[in-house]
Amino acid sequence: MIVVENLVKEFRVPEREEGLSGSLRTLLTRRYRTVRAVDGVSFDIPAGSRTAYLGANGAGKSTTVKMLTGVMTPTSGHCLVNGLEPYRNRRRTARRIGVVFGQRSQLWWDLSVPDSFRILRRIHDIPDAVYQRNLRLFRELLDIDALATTAVRQLSLGQRMRAEIAASLLHDPEVLFWDEPTIGLDMVLQEAVRELVNRVNRELGTTVLLTSHDLADITSICDTALVVDHGRVIYQGRIDQLLSTAGQRCVIFEYRGGPSPEAVAAEVEHALPGTRVRLDGQRVRIDHPVGLLSSREVLSFLLERVDLTECYVPEPDLGTVLKELYTRNGHRGRAPGGAA
């Protein structure tokens, strides 16, 4: 569905010198520095997948999305969305994609949301049945009717975001590009947006490419992760598999009676080498490296020694795993064979 090959985007940034004399100098002889925002990246995203496009700030995520949506033209290399190069076939691509840039608006700022939707319906030639079905869906999940007659420019950020999300889905696009789509949404609406995107993915087979800083968005919308660092793909595969690459696991528990927490901590660290124990009141947290111990070993040790009342073995969190992944690649340079 989405094919990216050796995609490069360079920007020319004017170099400025400091101070008055410096700015006079730059006025006369302007020097440019070339910044490579996307550095020869290649990947392939199958139809119907829900992919999170991840990377540290400056990894070129947004720039890549801007090329995939046809907004910007690559410096070299190319990409295909549904078999078309977006920036060369903008109109045909536009029929098939839905776009949200969380920081920007694609609506008519001095018209109401229903008016904007009526225009979009004409522009996209949306069949009546599709239009009505989608409006029903947006009413149900996004409470779009509450925005009724207010001009877009008078909406709050959260209200506008709801309208933007709905606008991106109005014409049943085959691919959704969402760049930071849940900015300004409260928890309830974030949940509704996830439900919405998962529903269109299930029912229409819509391919989703999401960039977000909200890890909860990522784990609940996407099943696949594409991790890019310095323009290179350092991981592509299922998110649950990515999580299982975490170097550290932990077990958190509470117990009744018996020895003091300090004594338990000392015993655990002695009996299970490599673990680190932290105390938080009655609650004890054991961090252990994956290679040396399994969660099972830690648990069976605990079951034998103390009278457990509560026990949590949380899934490693995505943020930590990503941080590990970036550092690993930062230190070793080249990417491991992380592609699945």
Binding site: V71, R90, A94, R95, Q103, Q106, D115, I123, E180
Partner: protein, 265 residues
Amino acid sequence: MREFLRHARLAWYLGGIGLQRLMTYRADFALGAGAFLVRVGVQTAVVGVIFQFTPAVGGWTLHEMVFLLGFSLLPRSLDRLFTDQLWELGRRLVQQGEFYRYLIRPVNPLFALLSERFFHPDGFGELLVGAALVAWAGHHLDLELTPAQWLAAAVLVFLGALIHMSVKLLFASLSFWTVTSFPAMHAANQISEFAAYPLEILHPVMRAFTTWCLPFAFTAYVPCTYLLSGDAGLVVWTPVVTAAALAVSLTVWHRGLATYEMTGS
């Protein structure tokens, strides 16, 4: 052809939206039309005052001058009615990263841009005042146009509007490289004001400039010379000049689209 018809239908629909917006923002409409009337009123008064002292300026009589002034408003008003969104392109659309939205719609990007604001309120006042001045001056000049000349006049107004649009598009497109090009657009617009006056009163350099560089002379002076005196010397060049202006500005626009850098994350 099918795409053309689709765009025509959309233009009709979006034109309706534009009119609807006029009704919603009536104060805007009144303010725009009012400010415009004052401006043209002053312009006409200046012409009137000048003719208190002299019977002719550069060979033009009072009524001929008013005819020219009125005629110059016609293509300008058409242009203002349909392409005013170009000012926004020069002013802020690139700078604030908003331009992307015209590239993700399944219509021609230029159409998407222009159609966002059809029927700018000032345009109506301009059109009416222009028509009134032309009618009044034409009456006093005992101007009798043949049907062919009527047709030619309509075509010349349309071509003039295209020339205004081309110049505006050219300078607005510079914003793809310079982020904002409002000052350049403003300067070009100032020069376009000269279209309301006879070329004879301009310095020869300026005369050549407004004829062959930014060809505003073809929006009013050349058509009026033809309609008033039947002198067809330059007027036959109008379609060529219009085509050239369009070609240059559309080329720059397309280059601009390819270099467009959407700012921010």
